[in-house]
Amino acid sequence: MNSQTVMQSPGTKKFPHSQFQGESSPLLHLRHVTCAYHSQHPAVRDISLSVNQGEILCLLGPSGCGKTTTLRAIAGFEKVMIGEIYINGRLVSSPTVHWPPDKRRVGMVFQDYALFPHLCVADNIGFGLNQWEDSQRKSQIHKMIELVGLADLERRYPHELSGGQQQRVALARALAPNPVMLLMDEPFSNLDPDMTIKMRKELYHLLRQTKTTSILVTHDHDEAFAMADQVAVLHEGNLVQCDTPETIYHVPSCPFVAEFVGQADFIPGNIQNGKVETELGAFTNQGGYEGGANVLVMVRPDDLQITKVGAGNARIESRQFRGSENLYAIRLASGRLVHCSASSTEIYDVDAPVGLTIIATHTVLFEHQS
């Protein structure tokens, strides 16, 4: 029913390609990368993106979207069928070139951490340092243990550690050989929710402090928003948008992105007199559509406000209490459902008739194909 019409808010224009064409060459650069386990069904299709030194990129998407495949292609565990991958300006993957993982100097934190069960914490961390001189190796292991806060646990074995400690070991092990960048595959998925928030903060500070270029795979948009400089949203093997977290949220490139990164409703509208007329009222025509065109307006819960209670042609369908806010589902006269957030203390009865006011600062429009 819809296709993408990328909306750019002024000043935040950022195409994935715009960076490497500029002055400084990116640390990682993917050009039209396609990977496939079966040639008929590519796992990822035509992915292009680049990451600069010190940046954190999140690959975001639902399971099966190809984000892990992309990560594994960067690490060298998957070969590319079409396209090229450059690390530090050097071609490491193409249909004819394939550097093995051990030559890429890329650190990786696995989803299940993959700690060597037969080695203690120190030996796990020192695994990638066996070419180093003994004293250097020792001091690097020590440095890493300090960095991730695992002092006194050097002689423990992985099974004797908690989930959070295991993750720290995995991180220290990946960082120890001074990799050019760090890849992380759903690093928090094996932790319980309390721990996740804590480790997320820790990891964020550690990556910033060490200025580590990182790529993080996740299906959780909160995580992506909290960590990333850039978020690349993947959907069914395609890169649908690569932008800053703010742009992704406020100016999604397509309804899929809009819905994936937060609650979004889509209201049909029609361009009349330079305005988008909908049943909720008029929105500004930010897409530059011609008069008479049919469009969809993206409405986030915080774009609407309940103004009249007890009167109006909309009706409260349900209320979901979320602690810091109340999320109301509201049935419009047309039968369409929209969501509206209200403060934590604003409690209205279910079934009450209400009126809605638009308080959106910008409008996101998509083409409407019926």
Binding site: D102, M108, A114
Partner: protein, 527 residues
Amino acid sequence: MTVLARQAVLSPLAIFSFGISGLIVLPLLYVVYSAMKADFAIWQRLWSTRIPELFLNTVSLAFGVGIATLTLGVSLAWFITRYEFWGRGFWEWAFVLPLAIPSYVLAYVYTFLLDTGGPLEQAWQVVMGPEAPFFSPYSFIGALMVMTLNTFPYVYLLAKTALQNFNVTFEEAAQATGASQWATIFRVFLPLIRPALVAGLFLVTLYVVSDFGAVSLLRFQTFTYAVYQQITGRYDYAAASILSLLLVSFALIFLLGERWFRRQSRYYQMTGKVRPPTLMPCSVSRSALMTGYCVVVFGMAFALPTYWLVQWTSEAWAENEIGTEFLTYIWNSMVLSGGAATLALVLGTPLAYLACRHPTRLNTLCIQGAYTGYVLPGPVAALALLILFSSIPFLYGTALVLVLAYLIHFLPAGLQSMESAIQQVNPNLEEAAKSLGARSYQAFQRVTLPLVRGGFLVAWILMFLQCMKELPATLLLRPVGFDTLAVRIWLEASEELYQLAAPPALLIVLMTIPVVMLLTRKNWQVG
């Protein structure tokens, strides 16, 4: 999410393992080929003379042993997993001990025990009157009894595992919907453990049709014994090939059946938390009944035979019948078995590794090829190598041919253990090693190998012991004057020299006991 990297081109390792696999499959193909090209007259002659009898004997023995082991194994497992009776903890592990006695050792002890005037007949006639008829060991009943006592632990172990892993919540769920206790047993319990039982049944029948040692000593005509006789008595390789082909087909059916049902039983494995059954206390009389049952079965399958082996050995010792040649036999057995097991481990590693990590069609085919040893009973493997090597005089009749026979025959058992060891290593670990700069072989050496060491050691011990116990191929292929422990047992036992057969038999049993106990703690697959 773990995705195995694709193998783009044929690596040297893949070619190597293809070669090994070919080497192992070749003898089987050659037997099939010899059978096919044999004169049609030989087929006709066999068909009208030997085959009906052999077929009837083999099938009825396999069927009879299957029923008997199922009865024994399931009843024991049921008592042991559900009731708290005297010595339950002891019996739980004691019933794996019969696996430590090779079939020909059990058979030879029973030829003595059941013989006219033997201890069991005397005991029987004390109870039933002086002229009460008693069965001979050299009969269907004799073979049935020996094979049952030898193989019921397989069914027992499978049934015990199934019962212990059985999630009692299923039973409770059935009862909560209003099913009676009997309805629960028939509609929930039995259907859920049936695959494990059928798998055990096929395993036992495969074992019975492949057995040579017991049936040869009990002079019960089955296919394996007939193949041996064709080779040694008549030097008729064509006829032997035909009988072998039929035997292999039989074995294949049972093997595939076992595999199929085992896979079924995996579907029934419960995921998540399983609440095991609790033990029911029982009255003194019930307890006595169950203990009595256990004592009788254990006595017949293990205690009595072992007692006689010890008795005869001490007699032989007292009469100075154990000479230095006994040490030679031990040395021969050790060197041969150790060499074969080591070779199998080295050659099997690439096969197992590729099949686990790069399951391409070719690699899977290679490991399937290596598993053909399962359907090659000893006499058939020996026949194949005899035919193949009779044209290579400088190898014919050397220990090397024997090592090759062991390799073909026992690599599958080792491979199974090696494969599961590799499978237990998370492939992410190797990838982690590579992401930290290790080359493929370094990743294998520094991460995989230390982690699979235990499993590989088990594989080696398993193959070593099976080689020690191997009888038919050793009898047929050994160099002149080169005797092993197993061969000595069989030769002395054939002459009814019980005392001389006992020391090597006792030695093998004593060596096998710790291994059986070690293996059954993790895995019931012992042979």
